[in-house]
C-alpha cells in the first residue's frame, strides 16, 4: 500500500540559500513519523515545504496526488493541517473564531458542530475560554487551540511543528497524551517535528534524523531508540 505522504528528492530553500538537499521520507496512513535533528537542520523547512510555504524541488505525493507546486491554501484544502512553529494563533480573534477558521473550508455544518464537541473532549479548557480573545491564552492553551484548529479541518495528515516548544513539562505530557488519543480516534497521519527526541521517539513509529538538510539516519522509531550510537552522537541523551 502506498504511503499517505511520500517525499522524493525534496529540496527547498529561502531565496538563494538551499536548506534541504534532497530528502526522501514517508508518513504511513494513520502513522506517526518524527523528524529529529538539531536547530537549523531543516525540520521546520521540511514541514513548510510540504505545505507549499517555501519554494521546493523534487516531488511530494499526498494520497497519490502531487502537492508540490500547489499554493498553501490549496494544500490545506486537500486535507493537510499544519500546526506551525509559533502556533499561528489569530491573536486578535476569539477562541471560538480561531476554531471556526479551522473548519473554514468545510460545508458539513452538523459534522463541524460534532467535531467542536470532540475537540472539547480533548481540551476541556478551550470550552471555558471559548469567548475569550486568543491572545490572552497561555502558551499551553494556545498550543491546544492550534491543534484543535488543525483537527477541525478534518485532516488526513497533521503536520506538527514542535508542539512542546516553550511549555512546562507537565503541559507537554498532557498534550502528548491527548495526541495519542487523537491518533487512535481520528485516524490521522502525523508528521512531527520535535527537539525533544525521546518524547518524539516514544510517540512515533518511524523517525528520520536530519543534519544540515540531509537525512543521516532513518528507520523504525523503536530501532533508533535502541541504537546507542545514534542516540549518543545525534540525539544527545
Amino acid at each position: 500500500m502506498a504511503a499517505l505522504l511520500e517525499a522524493e528528492g525534496l529540496t527547498a530553500g529561502y531565496g538563494a540559500t538551499a536548506v534541504l538537499h534532497g530528502l526522501d521520507f514517508a508518513v504511513e496512513e494513520r502513522g506517526v513519523t518524527a523528524l529529529l535533528g538539531a536547530n537549523g537542520a531543516g525540520k521546520t523547512t521540511t514541514l513548510r515545504a510540504v505545505s507549499g510555504m517555501v519554494r521546493t524541488g523534487g516531488s511530494i505525493r499526498f494520497a497519490g496526488e502531487r502537492l508540490d507546486g500547489l499554493a498553501t491554501e490549496e494544500i490545506a484544502r486537500r486535507g493537510v493541517a499544519h500546526v506551525p512553529d509559533g502556533r499561528g494563533t489569530f491573536m486578535e480573534l476569539t477562541v471560538e473564531e480561531n476554531m471556526r477558521l479551522g473548519a473554514y473550508t468545510r460545508s458539513d455544518r452538523a459534522e463541524v458542530e460534532a467535531d467542536f464537541e470532540r475537540v472539547f473532549g480533548y481540551f476541556p479548557r478551550l470550552r471555558q475560554r471559548f469567548r475569550q480573545q486568543a491572545g490572552t491564552l497561555s502558551g499551553g492553551e494556545q498550543q491546544m487551540l492550534a491543534i484543535s484548529r488543525a483537527l477541525l479541518l478534518r485532516p488526513r495528515l497533521l503536520l506538527l511543528d514542535e508542539p512542546s516548544f516553550g511549555l512546562a513539562p507537565l503541559v507537554v505530557q498532557e498534550i502528548f497524551a491527548i495526541m495519542r488519543r487523537i491518533r487512535e480516534e481520528q485516524g490521522v497521519g502525523i508528521l512531527l517535528v520535535e527537539q525533544n527526541a525521546s518524547l518524539a521517539l516514544d510517540f512515533a513509529d518511524r523517525a528520520y534524523l536530519l543534519e544540515t538538510g540531509r537525512i543521516v539516519v532513518s528507520g523504525p522509531a523503536a530501532d533508533i531508540r535502541q541504537d546507542e550510537s545514534v542516540r549518543r552522537s545525534y540525539l544527545g541523551y
Binding site: 505545505s51 510555504m53 499554493a71 498553501t72 491554501e73 490549496e74 490545506a76 484544502r77 493541517a81 499544519h82 506551525p84 499561528g88 494563533t89 489569530f90 491573536m91 486578535e92 480573534l93 473564531e97 471556526r100 477558521l101 479551522g102 473554514y104 473550508t105 484548529r149 479541518l153
Partner: protein, 290 residues
Amino acid sequence: MEGLPHQIVAGIATGGIYASVALALVMIYQATHHVNFAQGEMATFSTYIALTLIQAGLPYWVAFVVTVAVSFVIGVVVERVLLRPMHDAPVLAHVGIFIGLLLVISNLSGWIFDYTVKAFPTPFDTGAPMLGGLVSGHELGSTAVTLAVLTLVYLFFRHTSLGLAMRAAAYNPVSARLVGIRVGWMLALGWGLAAAIGAVAGIMVAPVVFLEPNMMLGILLYAFAGALLGGIDNPAGAVAGGFAVGIIENIGGAYLVGTELKLTLALAIIIAVLLFKPSGLFGRVVVSRV
C-alpha cells in the same frame, strides 16, 4: 437651521460620509498596510456611473444598487490587475500606483463626463425641514443609508464565515493560508467592498456638494482625519472618528474658521492627532515600516 443643535445633526450626516470612506481606507490598510489615496477618486467615478444610470431612466434605487455592484467589481479588478502583481513591492511603489490610479480615474471622470459641476438627485424629501427645523430630508435619509451600510458591514464581518475569513487574512495571512483561506481573493474582496462603500458615500454626498471630478478630495482628507482620530488599524474606531470629525467640521466651520478653511481644519485635526494621540482614540501605534 442655524443653531448648535443643527450643526451637530448636520455634522452627523456628513460624519456618516466620512465614516464610510474612513472605513473603506482602514479595511484596506488593515489587510495590506497601505493607504489607498485613490479611494476618493474611485468613489467619484462610481457617483458618475450612478448619475448616468439615473439619467438613462433607471429608478433611483435600482441605479444605486447597480452602481454599488459595478463599483464592487471595479474594486476587485483594480486589486487583481494593479495591486496583486505588486504584492511584495516596496511602499513607494504602492504609493506610486495609488497616485497613478488617482490621476487616471479623476481625469477619466472629467474626460468621460466632462468637468462641469453637476447637480445630483436625492430620493429623500427635499421639502420643509423636519424635526422642528433641525434636519433636512436628505440629511436624515443619507444618515440612515450610511448607518445601514455600516451596520451591514459590521454584521458581515462579525457573523459570516467569509467576513471572519477576511479578518483572519488581514490579521495573519500565513495562518489564514494554513486553514485553507485564499488570502489573495480576500484582499480583492476587501478592495471590492471598500469601493462599494465608497460608492454609497459618493452617491449620498453628491446632492450636497455637487458632482465634479474632484468632489471627494476634501472628503478623503476628512476620512484620513477620521481614520487617524479613531485609530488607523481599527475599523470601528475609524467609523467613530469619521462621525467625530464630521461634527468637529460643522461646529468649527460655523463658529471658528468659516467654510473657506474647511480643508485646513482637516489638516489641523490630522496634525493634532499625530502630536497628541498618535495611536488614535481606539488604536495601537503602528511604528514599524519606518
